[in-house]
Symmetry: C2
Subunit: 393 residues, 2 copies
């Protein structure tokens, strides 16, 4: 199989590396082209800056898009599919925006559009989810989907250092971008949650719609110490529930007791779970990012195409409706303003510097916090665990 | 596809239940026969006690063997394969004994022999392992493979109750058999570890060979309290390492610090991990037993056959050799006899009622403990974690 890699950053380089190690089932894979930026000097004979030469090369079977960002990734993916090339991408932002279009165009052209590496990096999450869906409806998804924010929270938890110091370390280690917003404001989690929800409910929903998102930008070392005193650990989660014909989804800081696996998912690891009627709970833990784990997932998709292993078909014809009040949580809130009035319907209880509110519909909580943030841009909140599951430490 | 289920116990009933719920991709599956014991009264029209009628029915595509035990399961599986029927089994004992023969006979007859449900119940472990092996060599496997022993250890840890009381609870809950030996003496873990190792190293090794096994029969509530004081949790693990051309494998009680996911795998859950060169660590957690999760895994195999999704091919031609000294661990030992002489090469240090020994080759440790058990049949041991990984609680 001849492969063209669009983009030669971290993941693209990783794909090239793994394919060029002679091992097991990758010996039939051959990288024919690597697309680099216009006017960049090619270091390898496979490199070119001519996308049309790649698209028009009839020997190219698979295009691996690892450019990142929305454009030109979107237009290259569509063009490659229309040139009857299978497309594999690790680019969660472009998939979350254009999943329906990519699915439609790939079907029309009789080629595959696969994206295992886009969610959970090396974790076989998309595959595990699609497999579960062969038998069960999946009625809960919850995940630590973003390694950078998990690294930051874990590091703050271990060291007691302030957010900004730890963010800087993450940037120095190459875990966080110069503009860290996608990671710390929950946008990356939103993309990955939406991709997962699209598959789970066979429904196309863009992450810029009604999805409530609250990131970790405002968390302080004092918040961390307080949660620690409560015997809880905070994680940035993407969560979705389905009940009957309704679903909800949310990205928010979530507290776990020490008996939850989430509380012990350290460093930049991801942990993603599903719940199905017959399978019960399944949890997948591994490297959610990084060159070789992500490249491994890209190559798994290539091998699925090579071995003719079809992924789950998507129709996007489900009639599920989003309900912002499907789930009610207790929340802990830190703000300098007095908002007991704002939350008065939700049994607000002051606990030191924090306010605990009860049984708040998730959508309503995020609407109220937007109002709090307008007056106090340093405010923070996290959802509380429903009850202690078991008693082991 | 027409299916015959051999045996109608917990798992067989579960397979029948799930297939007869009209859902998603199981609508093409049809249970045509159910084999029940000779002279047992049939409750369902599909039931028969005539194995030959099933074998000679040309409409039967898949035989699901869920009888358990070695014979007649072994002879029925071989007969079904020779009658050109795909075979799926959840029976780890018979697979661990006859993996090579089943693989050979299935190849000769152009049919599949799949066994996802035999290890990890509903966890997609075999599939996850085979998938990882498409790209990586897997150089470490470690798992909480047995839900019953995990339930017992977790319950002792939570409640402080003695082993025998908790074992009786497990028996009352239906988690443990009247003869609990397979679960508490590590035999079930040995079977599942051997099946995993067979696949990982493409090597057939029976569990009754050189595999060192130490179970949890001798653990006391005082041992539990002591481990708790040390900040550690004990789990019955199956572990294998591979280095170059050598591998080892062991079943033994293993201590974990509180930052390990293993320490937080509660109740009767399983947690199975692999390590590969490019993928890094992957962990899979879920229901390792139980009617519907196990039946779900059986049906996943049926769907793989129906959708023509081939599993990894096994040749069993690897030249890996077992080395009993490949891994060296520190161990904590409890015995009433003075064995500082026996362990004198391994820096024995007395700590209260316990002896800690250092850097002991795993095979040697198990040989020495056999000698200890001859004099003190209540002795217990567990391997100690190498070092504290990270500092989070």
């Amino acid at each position: 199989m001849n492969i063209a890699i669009l983009g030669f950053g971290t993941v693209g380089t990783g794909v090239y590396k793994i394919i060029n190690q002679a091992n097991r089932q990758t010996q039939n894979l051959h990288v024919k082209h690597i697309l680099i930026r216009k006017n960049k000097k090619p270091d390898l004979p496979e490199m070119t800056d001519d996308i049309d030469a790649i698209l028009n090369d009839k020997d190219v079977d698979v295009v691996v898009e690892v450019l990142g960002g929305i454009e030109p990734a979107h237009q290259y993916i569509i063009a490659a599919l229309k040139h009857k090339k299978h497309v594999i991408t690790a680019n969660k932002a472009v998939i979350a925006q254009y999943m329906a279009e990519f699915t439609k165009v790939s079907k029309e052209n009789g080629v595959k559009f696969y994206f295992e590496s886009s969610v959970g990096g090396g974790i076989p999450w998309i595959q595990g989810l699609e497999r579960a869906l062969r038998i069960d409806d999946v009625n809960k998804i919850q995940g630590i989907f973003n390694g950078t924010s998990n690294f930051i929270l874990d590091q703050m938890h271990r060291t007691g250092e302030p957010f900004n110091d730890v963010l800087m370390q993450a940037q120095q280690l190459g875990y966080a971008e110069a503009d860290p917003s996608a990671d710390i404001d929950g946008i990356d989690v939103a993309n990955k949650l939406c991709i997962s929800v699209d598959i789970a409910y066979d429904l196309f929903i863009k992450p810029d719609g009604e999805l409530p998102i609250f990131g970790i930008r405002n968390i302080t070392e004092d918040d961390m110490a307080h949660f620690d005193q409560l015997g809880m650990t905070v994680k940035l989660m993407g969560i979705s529930h389905q009940v009957g014909n309704a679903f909800d989804y949310v990205v928010e800081p979530t507290l776990y007791y020490g008996d939850a696996l989430e509380a012990h998912t350290t460093d930049n690891y991801n942990l993603i779970s599903l719940h199905g009627k017959t399978i019960g709970v399944l949890k997948f833990m591994g490297q959610g990012a990084g060159q070789l784990p992500t490249a491994n997932a890209v190559i798994q998709d290539i091998l699925d195409i090579f071995q003719n292993k079809e992924h789950l078909k998507r129709e996007f014809k489900s009639t599920f409706k989003y309900r912002s009040d499907l789930t009610k949580n207790n929340y802990i809130v830190r703000t300098e303003i007095d908002c007991s009035q704002l939350f008065k319907r939700f049994e607000p209880v002051v606990r030191g510097d924090y306010l605990v509110v009860h049984n708040v519909p998730v959508g309503e909580m995020h609407r109220l916090m937007k109002r709090v943030l307008q007056k106090d841009e340093t405010a923070f909140m996290a959802s509380l665990p429903e009850k202690r599951e078991g008693a082991a430490k």
